[in-house]
């Protein structure tokens, strides 16, 4: 409670000085706060007359929500599905699709409330459990509805749904690390527990004003920390606990269909405009800058990966350029609304080169089997992006007036918290599931392929 009033005071003190969206440490979503509001910014969801909303913002956020959902199904499903062997394609597509459905329900049960309502420094409250209080009331004297304090110009239904799509894709990303060998039942249980015990708290800490990393001034525009570092480190934990795939390093494991992978990567790219430009929670100038930065970084990263591979291995590969594009999208995520186009190009290029070495050299040096490089691309790309946000953030765009050294240190706090908390909780969850339900399929099932052995289906 002391902390809460402290932050409240801080927010109020800041309000007269700067535009609400320039408040240090404010989430991207605060952008939409009406600048002319004479009263202090609300700190919890509240009811509002429907005509006070912005139809432009609402239209863009409805669109963004659909775009981000498209990133997971079919985007991520195809991106991953094309990279596995033919016997595991359906199982891999199934992981993304089932994750989408399960997280949808969990978000309604308590996920949204734990992430985006005020609470302690580490977890939100339970007031929005089962979307309790999330309302739209159609009345004779005009309609009214609930809005989130993080997005006061759009209906809370749209904000909760927009954030739901982020909660959906994050656990689905982890599947890239444990592809080809985890039991479906164990995966459902792990992703469900992870969504509530890791995703919701980290999202709260970084994005909700009562969260301590938010108060500490960590800049994470669209989820570099919450989504990518978080998923990447959980991926690392899962491939360590599960062990390598049978025959890893001895048998050939070529991707089954890189056409799927390229289509998936392209859908991710397009969907990411909803992810990053949508994180402005408004149809405004910052959304435009975020979109531009996203495009610049992605192009630069794809080329960075492609040329590095070309120089090192002799040929520019399709899988390489697609992986590079995703690495760039990951790295620009925390920075997109905060950096100028030049900073975005540098962040992207760096991500392309660094993630190339993470997926090719680092993985082999440490001998873990991160099947589809969930950690190599999302973990490493996310960490790089989070740190470089502290270097390239623009004062003009953020209003943050701290030195690079100071901001870098703040960013490091966010990175370390997520890495340590995410790794520890994921590791414990995996061990518990392994000891009870069992985590890995039998050797016979793995040899036969998960499509037939887990789902009773096959392609061709």
């Amino acid at each position: 409670m002391i902390k809460l009033s402290l932050i409240l005071g801080l927010l109020m003190a800041c309000t007269p000085m700067v535009h609400a969206d320039e408040t240090p440490g404010a989430p991207a979503s605060a952008v939409a706060a009406p600048s002319a509001a004479p009263t202090p910014a609300p700190t919890a969801p509240f009811m509002l007359a429907a005509d006070k909303l912005s139809s432009g913002d609402t239209a863009w956020m409805l669109t963004s929500t659909a775009l981000v959902l498209m990133m997971c199904v079919p985007g991520l499903a195809l991106f991953y599905g094309g990279m596995v062997r033919k016997k595991n394609v359906l199982a891999t597509l199934m992981q993304s699709f089932a994750c989408t459905c399960v997280v949808t329900i969990l978000w309604w049960v308590i996920g949204y409330s734990w992430a985006f309502t005020p609470g302690s420094a580490f977890l939100g409250g339970a007031s929005r459990a089962l979307f309790d209080g999330l309302r739209y009331v159609h009345g004779d004297g005009g309609s009214s509805l609930s809005v989130s304090h993080l997005a006061p110009t759009i209906p809370e239904s749209v904000y909760a749904m927009f954030q739901m799509t982020f909660a959906i894709i994050t656990p689905a990303l982890i599947a890239g690390a444990f592809a080809d060998r985890m039991k479906f039942s164990a995966m459902l249980l792990f992703l469900s527990a992870w969504s509530l015990l890791v995703y919701a708290p980290i999202a709260h800490m970084v994005w909700e004003p009562t969260g301590w990393l938010n108060a500490a001034g960590v800049l994470d525009y669209a989820g570099g920390t919450v989504v990518h570092i978080n998923a990447g480190i959980a991926g690392l934990a899962s491939c360590i606990v599960l062990g390598k795939r049978l025959g890893y390093g001895r048998e050939a494991m070529p991707p089954h269909n890189l056409t799927y992978t390229l289509i998936g990567a392209s859908l991710l790219w397009v969907g990411w405009f909803g992810f990053n430009a949508g994180s402005a929670v408004a149809a405004d100038g910052r959304a435009g800058m975020a979109m531009l930065a996203t495009q610049m970084a992605t192009g630069a990263a794809a080329l960075g990966w492609m040329f590095t591979e070309w120089l090192g291995k002799g040929k520019p590969s399709v899988l390489g350029i697609a992986s590079g594009a995703v690495a760039g999208l990951v790295a620009i995520t925390p920075a997109s609304g905060y950096v100028a186009p030049t900073g975005a190009v540098i962040i992207g290029a760096a991500a392309g080169v660094v993630c190339y070495f993470a997926a090719t050299t680092l993985k082999h040096a440490f001998r873990y089997d991160d099947s589809l490089d969930a950690f190599g691309v999302h973990g490493i790309g996310g960490i790089l992006g989070a740190l470089l946000t502290g270097v390239f953030f623009s004062k003009e765009l953020t209003g943050v007036d701290s030195s690079i050294g100071h901001q870098l240190f703040t960013q490091l706090k966010g990175v370390l918290t997520t890495v340590v908390y995410g790794f520890a909780v994921s590791y414990v969850l995996l061990i518990v599931i392994d000891k009870t339900l069992g985590l890995r399929v039998t050797e016979e099932q793995e040899r036969e392929g998960l499509d037939i052995s887990l789902h009773g289906e096959s392609i061709e």
């Binding site: 050939a252 991707p255 040929k315 899988l319 390489g320 992986s323 090719t360 050299t361 490089d373």
Partner: protein, 112 residues
């Protein structure tokens, strides 16, 4: 009667079909196969992991012919499938004892 079986480069298939058609052979069976011979395989690299592909994709054709046509058919295949590079393939000729046309029940030469 003979069964002429040839393993050729897949992109030469259409030329071979045309060549044997021109000398009056109106039927062949094609299978996509993989194999190795003197032509070495190739290396594929996926995110730094290198896999050597030992078996090269080829097309296998089978043609049943009367004894009179065997030499012409073999020559036509050899010429039309030829590129001069390693991996052009091989032609095998087997003795053929019986042929039956399923639709009419015709036998041997009449069924080819």
């Amino acid at each position: 009667m003979k069964l002429v079986c040839a393993v050729i480069k897949p992109f030469k298939l259409d030329e071979v079909r045309k060549a044997i058609n021109d000398i009056g052979v109106h039927g062949m069976t094609v299978t996509e196969v993989r194999g190795f011979g003197r032509q070495r395989g190739h290396t594929e690299i996926y995110r730094g992991a290198e896999y050597v592909v030992e078996f090269v994709p080829k097309s296998k054709i089978e043609i049943a012919v009367t004894d009179a046509l065997v030499d012409q058919v073999v020559e036509a295949i050899q010429k039309s499938a030829h590129t001069g590079k390693v991996g052009d393939g091989k032609i095998f000729v087997f003795a053929l004892t019986h042929v039956v046309r399923v639709r009419t029940g015709e036998r041997d030469a009449g069924a080819i």
